[in-house]
Subunit: 277 residues, 2 copies
Amino acid sequence: MSICFLNNKFIDIQEAKISPLDRGFLFGDAIYEVIIAVNKKPFELDAHLTRLKKNISSLKYSLSDQVDLEEIILEVISRNKFLKQVIYVQISRGTDTVRDHIPSNDLTPTIFVSSHELKTEFSTSSGEKAILLEDFRWRKSQIKATSLLANVIYRSKAKHQEVFETILFENGFITEGAVSNVFCCIDNKIVTPPLTENILPGVTRKVILEIIQDTSLECEETKISVDSFLLAKEIWVTNSTKGIIPIIELDGKKIGSGLPGEKYLQISKAFINKLSG
Amino acid sequence: MSICFLNNKFIDIQEAKISPLDRGFLFGDAIYEVIIAVNKKPFELDAHLTRLKKNISSLKYSLSDQVDLEEIILEVISRNKFLKQVIYVQISRGTDTVRDHIPSNDLTPTIFVSSHELKTEFSTSSGEKAILLEDFRWRKSQIKATSLLANVIYRSKAKHQEVFETILFENGFITEGAVSNVFCCIDNKIVTPPLTENILPGVTRKVILEIIQDTSLECEETKISVDSFLLAKEIWVTNSTKGIIPIIELDGKKIGSGLPGEKYLQISKAFINKLSG
């Protein structure tokens, strides 16, 4: 049994029901966070909650100050048995009486928080493959919203081509992965696209940047042309449920030596330490 | 009471419930149609069903051949009391057991068909206002999918600025409205963006093009630069629930004489005739 939170109740997810007039269902008018808990302790909860609240505010959802999201999340973690959990938090604008793009005033947001087992081992990875595709998503990817059909299409393509991730580019420059941020090593420097490049401000991206700052490695948030990306010595993708993963083959071509790189090994080790600390 | 169809049952919409693990709710992984019925007869049902089936196929939803969407729609119309109805049809990819962008194989799609009263009068309009904004939607707008948060934002801006519609442009060329297709009259010719311009192949757009073909008016599907659009003598927007509406003011500036134009009056009359025929 898996316990979730929905409409002010903690219930078995099998019993959880929403109206089809919920704007999350009708319009993808909802935001979300994916948070991991290790030993039942949420990782970087503040960063996730800060981003969630920023999105609530930018989309003008009428979430009451009375709602304590942190308390709800901790309670969901506590009520589920796994030591390692993936906590999914989705807040939609609410349920309207008639479908209309323009929302009624002061709808009560729907809050859904679920948990399932996190199966990732967070050990050093032997590397994964990826493909590169043109980015056709909307130009507001900094908002972590559930209007995700583009990402579903990209993930399905990755599965179909038996690779780990689809990495995207727009106007000749790398943006991010379908469900990850991207780092690479060019001329001995670690680079990652800046937040101005239509990307999500990933929590794991932030953690990795903090880790790099504590090393002597050179790092820059800067635009990455596809041409220079293809010549990178290392490529990594990062997200909350997988951590940091080296990409050793892109579109069928080896990246660097075709093995996880030195810088990956150093940063990954520090990341795993941080996660278990 | 309003009767809808959900999960193989005709029920009061107040009783209708779906799982929050429905991919329509989690990912905007659903497609839809908005169909009007006049005197309880659906208008252009074949065109709507053809588009819906095309989208089902392009997104690889596993909808059984046994499902007769036309029969369901006709039954929903019949079970609701209004002579003029808005029929909303949404098909999501189905309900997964765990949230993952990559869908499980062979999910059973969720079919939701609802009805509410259509209040539009379909008489000659005295004209409406619009605003012009840069198009930040995804680049697959030909798919009528529910990942619609961008459109919600544009519609909310229109409401906030007390105008009827937000018209969009990309790279200096008009695409479409947030919930409409766009026509305009330039140099005595009616023009509308071609289907290659990241727009929805609107059913009302198709009907208007057919009507124009039966007149002596010149018409072309061609790219419209923002510069030429601003100098148009007439601008119209079209959609299923509103029909054809002249835009007489754009970003606070008069279009043409600031009154509905001659061509609009001619086409609108023919459209209303077709609707009641």
